[in-house]
């Protein structure tokens, strides 16, 4: 009965979404105020009904209702409660439901936070979001209903995929989807602006905060996904250029470009049509990501739903959404996108444009690498896979210059900058980076291990990012400090500026950490018997013993390694787990994290019946944790920028242009 209520609330939600999609849009076009006024209540009701349906699904999992097919396929009575709740989005149907619920939440957030915008504009934005919801709900109801009954009911569930039974998985999908779906908001803003013809600075300012929020969530989501791959997959890496990873990375790249392009549109009125196109493309890539993961077009390490029928629906949906928006763009942008201030060759506009072009090209390169096997298959019947060598060869040359120019872009003036000024502001940072590079090159191989030129370049680049960001901050604050007004000056800086510093420094730390972690890592795959000692980069690993251990829903072989480095000695316990319900094995690596290095031990396979000899994988990854720190700082930077009053001022100032009578009616 409860599950039927879930279907019922989804049907109601679909009806409300349809109303939200049609009436406010028509009202805004025809000037019918009562229809326009419908947008906000409809968005709220739609969100409420969507939340109700996912709450009901959660209840089914909590109660262990194995007469629901999706629950039976993804849960188990022995599954710990936390993972029962995670299992709600652990499979295809539930994760699509989560997508839809997130969209409804974003829709409500837009309705709530944009009370000060012109009502007709908000109505158009909400209607566009309503259309996307309609498509998703149709997909859920007809092709992937999470509430489908199983007759007769199963006695026991099949259990959640063991790979997903990890604390990181509790937060990874919701955060990633918050980011994915969040890009629907700038998309809807761009479409509304194209429809109404208000593709100007005001539109860009409204879009900026939403883009920042979505980008921040997407960054956190990718961070958790990557950390999950590192801690759970046990392959010792954190990024594999897997199609599913690429699917989340492409919108991130375009989102980064959009973030910076909107700054120019907001401040200088330029790049209007370009910003609109980026907003459309970023969300299109989010949809494409869903398509790639869900349809089985590309096989991947962790594509967990393979169904051509669903793929066809999502493809039609993408064609409808993206096709319509690009058609709208082709029709309207030529007339609306012109204008904006002139700017010189050396100006912040130019530098941000270069950033945009490089990031878009990088996204395109990743897209090409992801889809090329498919294209080749369709065109010539050959099946190939594109591996990390392609991505590293193509992606890095595009992104590294963008990273190098980051510090310059932040200090360059709008309109027309001069080399002299940029030189004056950055010479200290440049000099220190150069000194570090020279010291590194000269000391290479003498003080420590020999490192490759690529690592040297990465370290120098990372240092340059951090130093140029610090120089920028110093120059803004130092003069006031000398006059004894440092604190006032500090407090008067806008949040957006702090956010920018935080994110840019995060990029620097990330580049630095990636270079060190990948360039200086030591790894070894070998076989080791109990009592034997293996050495790697000054660390001595002794395989002490192996003992059975039992978890709540798995049995494990737990190995004890004593690790010695210098005078330190500690114990590590990698496990080989077998989950009872699915009899699927999973290697749980033991990772000793530290500020300067991660020590990683993973059990491979037993080489004899008694289990006295195992293959093991040992790794020392220097500065691994700093990768997470750098990424976290980027997301935090987005959060800080969101607190900026400029976005709030925009909300207060602009509505006065809207007719008073209309405002009163709506309030």
């Amino acid at each position: 009965m409860i599950a039927e209520l879930g279907v019922f609330s989804m049907v109601l939600s679909l009806i409300v979404a349809f109303v939200l999609a049609c009436l406010p849009l028509a009202g805004a076009q025809l000037g019918i105020r009562s229809w326009v006024a419908l947008a906000r209540p409809a968005a709220a009701l739609h969100c409420l009904l969507s939340l109700l349906s996912i709450a009901i699904l959660t209840w089914c999992f909590r109660a262990g209702d194995f007469s629901v097919l999706y629950v039976a396929a993804n849960s188990h009575s022995e599954l710990p409660m936390m993972y029962k709740l995670t299992a709600v989005w652990g499979g295809h149907e539930g994760s699509m439901l989560l997508w839809q619920v997130m969209l409804a939440c974003w829709t409500l957030a837009v309705a709530w936070r944009s009370r000060a915008l012109p009502p007709a504009f908000v109505a158009r934005v909400l209607a566009v979001l309503g259309w996307i919801s309609v498509g998703l709900l149709l997909f859920l109801l007809f092709l992937s209903n999470p509430f489908t009954r199983l007759v007769p009911a199963a006695l026991e569930g099949k259990d959640l995929n063991p790979l997903l039974q990890d604390p990181g998985m509790v937060f990874h999908p919701p955060l990633l989807y918050m980011g994915y779906v969040g890009f629907a908001v700038p998309f809807a803003f761009a479409l509304a602006a194209l429809i109404s013809g208000e593709l100007g600075a005001a539109w860009a300012r409204w879009s900026r905060s939403w883009t920042l929020a979505a980008w921040g969530f997407l960054t956190l989501g990718i961070l958790l996904g990557s950390a999950w791959a590192y801690y759970v997959l046990g392959w010792g890496g954190w990024w594999f250029w897997d199609p599913v990873e690429n699917a989340s990375f492409m919108p991130w790249l375009l989102g980064t470009a959009l973030l910076h392009s909107l700054i120019v549109t907001d401040q200088r009125g330029a790049f209007r049509s370009w910003s609109a196109l980026l907003a459309i493309c970023a969300f299109s890539l989010c949809l494409l990501g869903t398509f790639l993961v869900r349809s089985g077009v590309l096989t991947s390490v962790h594509a967990f739903a393979v169904d051509p029928g669903r793929g066809l629906f999502i493809l039609c949906f993408i064609v409808a959404v993206v096709g319509t928006s690009l058609w709208l763009f082709a029709w309207r942008a030529a007339a609306l996108g012109q204008g904006g201030g002139q700017f010189g060759m050396l100006s912040r506009e130019t530098l941000l444009l270069v950033n945009n072009v490089l990031f878009s090209a990088a996204a395109l390169a990743v897209l090409l690498g992801t889809l090329y096997p498919l294209a080749l298959d369709v065109l010539s019947d050959e099946k190939i896979s594109v591996g990390p060598p392609y991505f590293q060869a193509v992606f890095l040359p595009l992104v590294l210059p963008a990273v190098a120019l980051m510090g310059v872009g932040a200090v360059a003036r709008w309109k027309l900058g001069t080399w002299a000024e940029i030189w004056r502001r950055l010479r200290a940072a440049l000099a220190w980076s150069a000194v570090c590079a020279v010291v590194l090159v000269l000391s290479n191989g003498r003080l420590g291990p020999r490192i490759s030129p690529a690592t040297l370049l990465g370290v120098t680049l990372g240092l340059w990012c951090v130093l140029s960001t610090l120089a920028h901050a110093w120059q803004r604050l130092a003069p006031a400090w000398r006059e004894g007004q440092g604190w006032q000056r500090l407090a008067r800086q806008p949040w957006g500026w702090w956010g920018m510093l935080m994110a840019h420094a995060g990029v620097g730390i990330f580049v630095l950490a990636v270079s060190l972690a990948d360039g200086l890592e030591s790894k070894r795959e070998t076989s080791v018997a109990q009592g034997e000692t293996v050495e790697l980069a000054g660390y001595r690993f002794r395989f002490d013993s192996l003992a059975p251990a039992a978890g709540p829903n798995y049995d494990a072989q737990r190995a004890q390694f004593s690790v010695r480095h210098g005078n330190e000695q500690w114990l590590m316990y990698p496990e080989k787990r077998v989950f009872r319900a699915q009899t699927m094995g999973l290697s749980q690596a033991a990772i000793d994290s530290g500020w300067t290095r991660d020590v990683f031990v993973a059990l491979g396979e037993p080489l004899d019946e008694a289990g006295s000899r195992w293959t093991v994988r040992l790794q020392i990854k220097p500065f691994m944790d700093w990768i997470w720190l750098g990424t976290l700082m980027m997301a935090l930077g987005a959060g800080l920028s969101l607190m900026d009053t400029r976005f709030r001022v925009a909300r207060q100032r602009l509505p006065q242009r809207a007719p008073k009578a209309l405002q009163e009616r709506l309030s």
Binding site: W235, G236, G237, F240, S273, L277, I280, C281, S284, F291, S295, G296, V297, L298, T299, P308, G311, L312, L315, I318, V319, V322, G323, L326, W327, F329, A330, A333, A334, G337, L371, L374, A375, D377, V378, E382, K383, I384, S385, G387, P388, P389, K523, R524, E525, T526, S527, G585, G604, E605, P606, L607, T615, R617
Partner: protein, 172 residues
């Protein structure tokens, strides 16, 4: 006109995705089955002056393992292949796919070398003939030089015991 360009590109992409949807990603599993294995006329990793001699392998069952030093799962399966091929007396030959020979040789020195010999497929042409979909892959090739089984992904103890070894035994 230039504003319509994104739409045109997108529509082309959509057509391609639509066609791609008709494809079965695992179709090749059967395409090579019981067919003669494609020729591996490639230099050896151990000694580039020599060619991989496929003809001399006639009359015995052997495994062709496609690997590369840049591929994480390949590194993981190497010690396992060393151990099992010795234990069960199954010769394993390697196809070093799109790799740099120095790195490949370095990996084998550190992780152990399960291969009787490895052919160097630097440009991936031979891999294409075999229809490689991802690295690693393992083929079972019989005494007449025909492909009898193909395994996608890394070889684990289970795969060896339950999939590869039964096929090898049956073909012998």
């Amino acid at each position: 006109m230039r504003f319509a360009l994104p739409l045109a590109i997108f529509l082309a992409l959509a057509v391609m995705l639509g066609l791609g949807l008709q494809r079965d990603p695992r179709a090749l599993q059967t395409a090579l089955l019981n067919q003669p294995a494609p020729a591996i006329a490639r230099p050896l990793l151990e000694d580039p002056r020599q060619q991989f001699d496929q003809a001399s392998l006639r009359g015995q069952v052997w495994l062709l393992n496609v690997w590369a030093s840049w591929c994480a799962p390949c590194r993981q399966e190497l010690p396992l292949l060393v151990e099992f091929s010795r234990r069960d007396q199954v010769p394993v030959y390697g196809l070093n796919y799109k790799d740099q020979p120095d790195k490949a040789r370095a990996l084998l020195r550190v992780a152990g070398n399960p291969y009787v010999a490895s052919a160097v497929d630097a440009d991936g042409r031979t891999g294409m003939d075999f229809g490689i979909q991802g690295v690693p892959e393992t083929f079972v090739i019989d005494g007449q030089g025909r492909v009898r089984y193909r395994h996608l992904g890394p070889v684990t103890a289970e795969v060896w015991q339950q999939k590869l070894l039964p096929v090898v035994k049956a073909v012998q």
